[in-house]
Symmetry: C2
Subunit: 397 residues, 2 copies
Amino acid sequence: MSATPPEAPSTARRIALPSPFRLTTGGALYGAAVAVETYGTLAPARDNAILLFTGLSASAHAAAHPGDPSPGWWDAMIGPGCALDTDRYYVVSVNSLGSCFGSTGPASLHPQTGQPYAGDFPELRVEDIARASQAAVEALGIETLYAVIGCSLGGMTVLAHAALFPGRARGLVSISGAMAANAAAIATRSLQREIVGSLLQSGAAPAQVQQAMRWARKIGILSYVGTELLEQRFGRDQAEPYAGRGSGTDFEVESWLEHLAQKFVRTFDPWAYWTISRAMDLFDFGTFGVAAGPDGLRHRGATDTGAAARTLQLQQALVVGVREDLLFPVGQQRALAQTLGAAGIDCGYVELSSPYGHDAFLADAALFTPILSDFLGGLARPNLPRALQPNVRSDYA
Amino acid sequence: MSATPPEAPSTARRIALPSPFRLTTGGALYGAAVAVETYGTLAPARDNAILLFTGLSASAHAAAHPGDPSPGWWDAMIGPGCALDTDRYYVVSVNSLGSCFGSTGPASLHPQTGQPYAGDFPELRVEDIARASQAAVEALGIETLYAVIGCSLGGMTVLAHAALFPGRARGLVSISGAMAANAAAIATRSLQREIVGSLLQSGAAPAQVQQAMRWARKIGILSYVGTELLEQRFGRDQAEPYAGRGSGTDFEVESWLEHLAQKFVRTFDPWAYWTISRAMDLFDFGTFGVAAGPDGLRHRGATDTGAAARTLQLQQALVVGVREDLLFPVGQQRALAQTLGAAGIDCGYVELSSPYGHDAFLADAALFTPILSDFLGGLARPNLPRALQPNVRSDYA
């Protein structure tokens, strides 16, 4: 036992995907890659890797490290002694395919035209994000994952990963995710896409597109944060001075929204936002439980989440929800846990309370530390009572 | 007792306001008027009038009548034998000052320029809506109101009316209102204003302004309806065929939103929307409890809802909230009822459950019928145990 833990090695790199990389609904990407950051050391047995899937707008930079000391989006969770303990685990964080932080997406240059894909980027599905990340994991020489963990969009992507690659991960953690977006979430995100997409489609000037992105992001933020949090933090505090009509700064809460929206717009590509947002709404875990239609897709008509869950091969799963989450209401997480449990998977379910709502995994990360620590520690114990049971049990089927 | 109730006479008219009509924050309107519809007959004693305040976007046409058989926004509630029983009461429904259905607002022609006020319409407050409506009531020869009733914005306006005109109404009903908007509601509405206002301010083409209005209205609708209702009605149903990027019609819920938004945009003036929405956010009942500042206004700094409530002179009050209301959470209605009760007002409080959320008073009106019937009937009974107590009781003060 050393007095100070050894500094976890961390690397940021770009990993080439097989070319062409064929997408779920027929498109293909040539010369595509994903940006990856890793934290910790891959064990000689290559059995300690955790694949981390992000939310809609995050980069692979989940934790600060000497090569990039800027704050990561899950700093509190990744490091020596943290829940994702880099003294034990090798954490692989991937920027989603379709995003704009090093992974191939609509902002990338089309290899044939030399111009950004923009609206010509092929249709992306959550399944493609899972497949690109799995390809990166394989390129790192990892055959079996200790666990896959994902938050928000990532909480959907872990399900796609588990369905597409049964037996490739021992544990699965879905945080504030869902088997499929509900109608209100679809309505909220599709409105964001309409605002951004209509300006992109009409060839509007960059300043107009940026304005649309700010509006879309504000709609998004209002779906992420809890109502009570805004009330506690801002109440009816007024901005001084009132800057006039159309300026939108009567109240402090408006200035706060504007600040966050501007920050986002500076870094996120509009077509990437549109593309990943749509993938999120089109995802439906239940499609893995039914046969594909004549077009090779399973995106319309009947779905079967129970049958989908019975195809998974997991040692254990954990589903975490937040009661104040407006976008992925906790009932959706409860339904996921019940579905996995009914399929014979040893699935834990934890319901947290945080004023941060959907953003709790980012803004209230300390709440999640003991839960993830316990789950990941438990995965290491061999011969758990239920762990070696087959996934499909007749009494649930 | 007649076999069929006599048809209630109904009239629609425009009532001139005193000119100039001075507004709360310094502006003045010349030759202004409000559109009014009345249902029922004013009793010889002129003691059966109910003043009805609307939500943000409604006209004075609360009920269909022979002169205008088109559906009213509260048809289920107004008529012979209804909660607002036109055999007993004389219902006065006023289109809010600042609106665009006959009352003077930003779409009206400025008497000096002959052009619409548009962005030159003076700053409007909820107090001005209350005062203009009271002026209309006085023009109808009504000195004392049997009751004032308001929903949403109207649930705020009844409070402004009661504070500005103490003793002029016996009963007050606030439905899905609040003493002041909370931070989330302010953020939601201010974003709508920013979208519409920025295009209005930049002199954008009408089609662009209409597009902005559609987006703003969609944000509004998503804040009105309950999440569960959308899920029950639309779930993940998909539209056929998918019309392409930027078209915003992947899912049925999007088509529904688009339909409602287009309907709204065809009838509502953008500047009126901006103006009334802002009035709603700036309203703060607690300002009636503190002395005005050097600028004659009470809109910043300390407020005192308890002191404001103690200035009211009401026989009885009723506050109704809906648990699924996201925009005016039920806690706000509970707080209003407690504040009125603590000020010695005989105040009832009813909490309803409806999947329609904030829209329940429109879409689930039957829920409100027995509550309003009972309250209005009770107001007529003389010498109620608490009714003749003074408003300010020392044990509450």
